[in-house]
């Protein structure tokens, strides 16, 4: 028996023993566990699963053991992922620090920074948020203005961020700040880690079209940040941000797998609503749904194929942009179809005249609009593919 097969068997046995049956189902909205200084469990199995995975060091299975990771090889890691998928294990926690900042810290952090920040991440003790966007810097991220001014032993941060997911619930933020106002816009930016409990930080949730939301505006009023919290080189933040966003794209396309009702089974949900009075639209609707279903299958096969290609050592440049673009657009189309199938039942907002599921779907539909914007809009993904993958010539006006 090969070592990998043996490993697979150990993983399988361990997961079967440790993942409670109640957590081998898709995660409903509201039952996602976010790691952090305050973890909220809704039932006990979640706590047990969280603790077992933490103690096994499998929150970060492939990180080095000296920072609390599991030390698995890339192959072992994909065995673990596939075994978890096989058993339908829920992710024990969601943590932006691990998905996005972690890989960047592993590569560019100082030894001290790694000790200080990675170890608590691997234990799920810190909740992170991403402070990149600003009111005037979205797609054009390099035009951020939030400033960090050198005060000898610390930076003084002033300005504001917007769209910060869970800004009000996070312990720490990784932020892009301007550290040189005179340099060309890409060259005056740094990546700074910022304690959200510091004096002068204020986070305010933003209402979205889908209702109350977890997205915040964050204001900084003379916030003091120790100089040790600068990652990489001073004014070298743009390069790190680009790396980090690659991780974000892969995380976003993965994220869909966890959260219901994204990545939902369109056909079966539609059939819950279709038996209602037959209407003239039905045949057209069914055709569109089959097509959407086939498109989704093509997407899933592509995820498999590119995964296999990466394992075979082929470079898969631009892959994250493809995944992010296709996945978010497909979800949006599916929700629209589902809403069409629900007819009037898809228009409810509040109270008991509509079922909980109906309202959840309606809100998820409204929410799907944000997915093709957040994390780099579809247009920006297309720019990335056109320029970096296809190497089409540059238009001087736009960077």
């Amino acid at each position: 028996m090969s070592e990998l097969t043996e490993f697979r068997q150990q993983v399988r046995t361990w997961l079967e023993e440790n993942c409670p049956m109640s957590l081998r189902t898709p995660t409903p909205d509201g039952e996602l566990i976010w790691g952090g200084s305050e973890v909220n469990f809704t039932f006990d199995d979640q706590r047990q699963w969280f603790n077992s995975m933490r103690d096994k060091h499998w929150f970060c299975p492939s990180w080095p053991t000296q920072y609390g990771g599991g030390g698995l090889t890339a192959q072992q890691n994909s065995v673990l992922e596939s075994e978890m998928r096989r058993l339908k294990c829920r992710p024990p926690q969601i943590n932006l620090g691990i998905w996005m900042l972690g890989p960047v810290l592993l590569e560019h952090g100082t030894e001290l920074q790694k000790q200080q920040f990675l170890t608590p991440m691997t234990r799920g003790e810190v909740r992170w948020c991403q402070g990149f966007s600003e009111p005037n810097a979205g797609s054009d991220l390099a035009s951020i203005r939030t400033s960090a001014v050198d005060q000898g032993d610390h930076y003084l941060v002033n300005g504001s961020k917007i769209w910060t997911s869970y800004g009000d619930k996070s312990d720490w933020m990784y932020a892009l700040v301007r550290t040189d106002a005179k340099a060309p816009k890409h060259q005056g930016i740094s990546l700074l880690l910022l304690d959200m409990h510091s004096q002068g930080v204020q986070a305010k949730p933003i209402d979205l079209i889908s209702g109350k939301s977890s997205f915040c505006e964050v204001f900084f009023d003379n916030v003091a940040v120790p100089k040790e919290n600068l990652i990489g080189e001073l004014n070298g933040g743009w390069k790190l941000a680009k790396e980090l966003l690659q991780h974000e794209r892969s995380a976003m396309s993965k994220f869909g797998e966890f959260q219901l009702p994204t990545h939902f089974d369109l056909m079966s949900l539609m059939s819950d609503y279709m038996p209602a009075p037959h209407s003239a639209s039905e045949a057209a609707l069914v055709n569109k749904a089959v097509a959407a279903n086939m498109e989704e299958q093509a997407y899933n096969l592509t995820v498999q194929r590119l995964g296999a290609e990466m394992q075979a050592g082929q470079s898969c440049f631009g892959l994250m942009s493809i995944m992010k673009l296709v996945h978010t657009e497909q979800e949006k189309i599916k929700f629209e179809l589902l809403l069409d199938a629900m007819g009037y039942r898809g228009l409810g907002w509040e109270d008991d005249s509509f079922s909980e599921q109906e309202q959840a779907i309606t809100r998820a539909w409204l929410n799907s609009f944000s997915q093709t914007i957040a994390g780099g809009s579809s247009e920006v993904q297309l720019n990335v593919i056109a320029k970096r993958v296809l190497q089409l010539p540059e238009n001087k006006g736009v960077s």
């Binding site: 194929r305 296999a308 290609e309 297309l382 056109a386 089409l392």
Partner: protein, 370 residues
């Protein structure tokens, strides 16, 4: 499921690429169009393909095959698509070969070995209407004392002019039977001249007498085998379309990088960049569907029907998109016969319709869903 080509598959692909770009480039297809022959493919090149062993790729060694599998065959079809190279590979080897492999008795197997070596060439006659629809054939076979009598009309028989014989599907015993019909003057053959300038025929059978040994498999019981052969054909056609759209896409991206208007390369225009990027994304999705279907074919997976339909559907859609964009982005020159784009466009259109168009496969996919 193995979603990548193996070393061996890749070597096969490289050989195919080398051979076809030297011996059967698009210019050769253009020349054939301008000076049609009886069969509209180059018989010399076809023989060379067989000498390279391409006819044997998917068959087991005891039949004289190479046991290489459909992933290898997919690589060949992709290369043929890229170079628009016409050959009876689909009609004779894939479609008829698969039927013989599934249904032939010991004696009939001589047809199979002859096909693999290229000594003989067969063509499959299924379609009867303006659309592919193997479930509603009207050609009938009647059992008589010493054989069968065939009546009806077939259309769009791929490579149907001048083969050594046809395999004909017909209504028989309240089901579907398939017969080997050796070439004979009694079958009325009419050439169909299509936009892709290949070899298609319409066949008419008027009380055609067939001997008992013409029947392949059990009487009235061959629809499943027929569908399986068609599925293999569908995914080879999908691989061919994949090769063709890759070639079109590459040419178009090149053009965007060199053509200048308004003092800049047209590839700097974001309106075009985004459309090009979408084509690329769709191409990636299409490729995944093809390789998944090839891989199912190799495993003789029960899923083959649905993955072949997915592949044929997706490729038809994406081929529409990319051939349309290729013409549009080339502007006026894109609609001239001088450029090869039009040759690709026409071949793609025919490949889309053959063995079921996108709508057919969408409906089939839905019906096959568990």
């Amino acid at each position: 499921m193995s979603m990548v080509y193996s070393e061996d598959d890749r070597m096969l692909a490289d050989t195919a690429e080398e051979f076809l770009s030297a011996q059967s480039p698009v210019a050769a297809q253009r020349a054939l169009r301008d000076k049609p022959t009886a069969v509209n493919f180059d018989e010399k090149i076809w023989q060379q393909m067989l000498e390279l062993g391409w006819g044997a790729i998917t068959f087991s060694e005891d039949l004289g095959g190479l046991d290489f599998g459909y992933k290898g065959m997919g690589a060949i079809f992709e290369a043929m698509g890229k170079h628009l190279s016409a050959s009876p590979m689909l009609s004779s080897v894939t479609l008829c070969g698969s039927l013989l492999q599934q249904l032939a008795n010991a004696e009939q197997q001589t047809w199979l070995t002859a096909i693999i070596s290229g000594e003989k060439r067969l063509a499959l006659a299924v379609d009867e209407h303006a659309r592919h629809d193997p479930d509603s054939m009207q050609t009938t076979a009647t059992t008589v004392v010493d054989g069968f009598v065939l009546n009806g009309k077939k259309t769009m028989v791929i490579d149907g002019v001048s083969p050594d014989g046809w395999i004909v599907a017909a209504q028989h015993n309240a089901g579907c039977s398939v017969f080997i019909v050796p070439f004979s003057e009694q079958v009325k053959v009419k050439r169909l001249n299509l936009i892709d300038a290949r070899n298609y025929a319409e066949l008419t059978f008027n009380d055609l007498k067939l001997p008992a040994e013409a029947l392949l498999g059990d009487a009235g019981n061959s629809l499943k085998a027929l569908q399986q052969a068609l599925d293999l054909g569908r995914l080879c056609l999908s691989a061919e379309m994949l090769g063709a759209i890759k070639a079109l896409f590459d040419t178009t991206i090149e053009y965007l990088k060199v053509r200048e208007q308004f003092g800049v390369k047209i590839g700097t225009f974001q309106a075009l960049q985004h459309r090009a990027a979408r084509c690329y994304v769709e191409l990636e999705l299409a490729q995944s569907c093809v390789i998944a279907a090839l891989s199912d074919a190799d495993k003789a997976d029960a899923n083959l029907a649905s993955s072949a339909s997915l592949a044929k559907w997706k490729l038809s859609k994406v081929a529409d998109l990319i051939s349309g964009e290729a013409v549009q982005m080339h502007g006026g020159i894109g609609v001239t016969d001088e450029l090869d784009i039009g040759l690709y466009l026409k071949r793609i259109r025919v490949a889309q319709m053959c063995l079921g168009d996108a709508d057919y496969h969408q409906a089939r996919f839905a019906a096959l869903a568990p």
